[in-house]
């Protein structure tokens, strides 16, 4: 790019009216002495600049046409609104970039297509590259498929394990309910009336037998017979001593 000499600096004191020191004519006049190519470059650059500046002014005019809300908003609301607007700008920019990318890709593919049609398609390096790319893509797809199958198998195994777990859970639950039922039945039976009457009868029999035992004991003691000498007699007496409630 051509160098533009003649850049200037100027100071502006806030109080005194002495103005800054600018005033050199713009360097466009100086470029007339340059070669025609430089002039062309300069003109093109000026054209781009003017276009951009025109765009800025236009967008400013459009912006001022929009109505601004008249009510006085709180600080936080203003900040939130500003952030929303900034996010909108970002989204628009991103969308624009994506569209540009897609457009570039389409242009590239058509240019590539035209190039291929023009050149000899068999011998170019491009064809080799493309064949390589296709081979790699096939490999990728195959490995994708394989990994997909393995994942399916894994999923099946996991499902089966889950089913087994559920089945074992239900079985254990059944066992537990059966046990509880048995316990309940036992308790019911123990508390039933039949058991009570049987127990009462048993108690009475035990008491009657105990009384009879005592009676025999007292008879033998009262008869003053020597029961320690005869072993059969001794056994009988000792048996009478047995406490029946402990059986």
């Amino acid at each position: 790019m051509e160098k533009q000499p003649g850049k200037q600096a100027a100071t502006e004191p806030p109080d005194s009216g002495a103005g800054g020191g600018e005033g050199e004519p713009p360097q466009v006049a100086g470029a007339q002495a340059a070669r025609p190519e430089d002039r062309l470059t300069l003109l093109l650059r000026l054209r781009a600049q003017t276009k951009q500046q025109l765009l800025e002014y236009k967008s400013m005019v459009d912006a001022t046409e929009e109505k601004t809300p008249e009510q006085i908003l709180q600080d936080k609301q203003i900040e939130a609104k500003i952030e929303d607007l900034e996010n909108e700008i970002e989204e628009v920019k991103v969308a624009f970039e994506m569209k540009k990318l897609a457009l570039d890709r389409m242009q590239l593919s058509t240019a590539l297509k035209k190039n291929l049609e023009k050149n000899n398609p068999r011998t170019s390096v491009l064809m080799d590259n493309m064949k390589h790319v296709l081979k790699l893509n096939k490999l990728i797809m195959k490995s994708h498929q394989e990994s997909w199958d393995l994942e399916e198998k894994l999923l099946d195994v996991r499902k089966k394990r889950l089913q087994l777990k559920q089945a074992s859970e239900s079985k254990l639950l059944e066992i537990q309910t059966e046990k509880n039922k048995q316990k309940d039945d036992l308790a019911v039976m123990e508390n039933s009336d039949k058991m009570k009457t049987i127990q009462q009868n048993l108690q009475m029999e035990i008491q009657i037998t105990t009384v009879i035992q005592h009676v025999f004991q007292n008879l033998i003691l009262g008869s003053k017979a020597n029961w320690a000498e005869d072993p059969a007699f001794k056994e009988i007496v000792l048996q009478l001593e047995k406490n029946l409630t402990m059986i």
């Binding site: 160098k3 200037q8 100071t11 600049q49």
Partner: protein, 180 residues
Amino acid sequence: MSVLRPLDKQPGLNTATILLVGTEDALLQQLADSMLKEDCASELKVHLARSLPLPSNVNRPRIDLIMFVVNLHSKYSLRNVEESLRHVDATFFLGKVGFLATGAGRESHCSVHRSTVVRLARTYRSPLLFCDPEVDGFRAPVAQRLVRMLQICAGHVPGVSALNLLSLLRSSENPTLEDL
């Protein structure tokens, strides 16, 4: 005129004007010299001012970029900048205003905390640059950045506008500052 408005004058052909506002004249002069030394295809004009409002009787070209220079070593410069901000129209802040903080390297001399300037820049939604002009190596890159920003704000770069640049320069929000 007491309020600076962007786009109120016609742009000069191939000209870009930057206004540096700050209390330290030597610093501004240094920055201006570094900027003018930069290689740039368009013609640059640098205006220096200690504070706004600018005197209205001077015929000056359209101002494309305003940089407010805050010296972190003096609270006066911060206050000066804050007062000058009132004389700038709101439409200027759509990318044509920037803050430049100097003196952040010497932490012991800083009477203005870094976060104050950061908050100021965030309130006005403008980019904040840091510069240490005493170190020679820092001046040239900062001048380069300023020249590039100026070119974009003046419309000399096709396809990029000041607003575009603003959203590009927006740094990600620091979460610790948000909690304050």
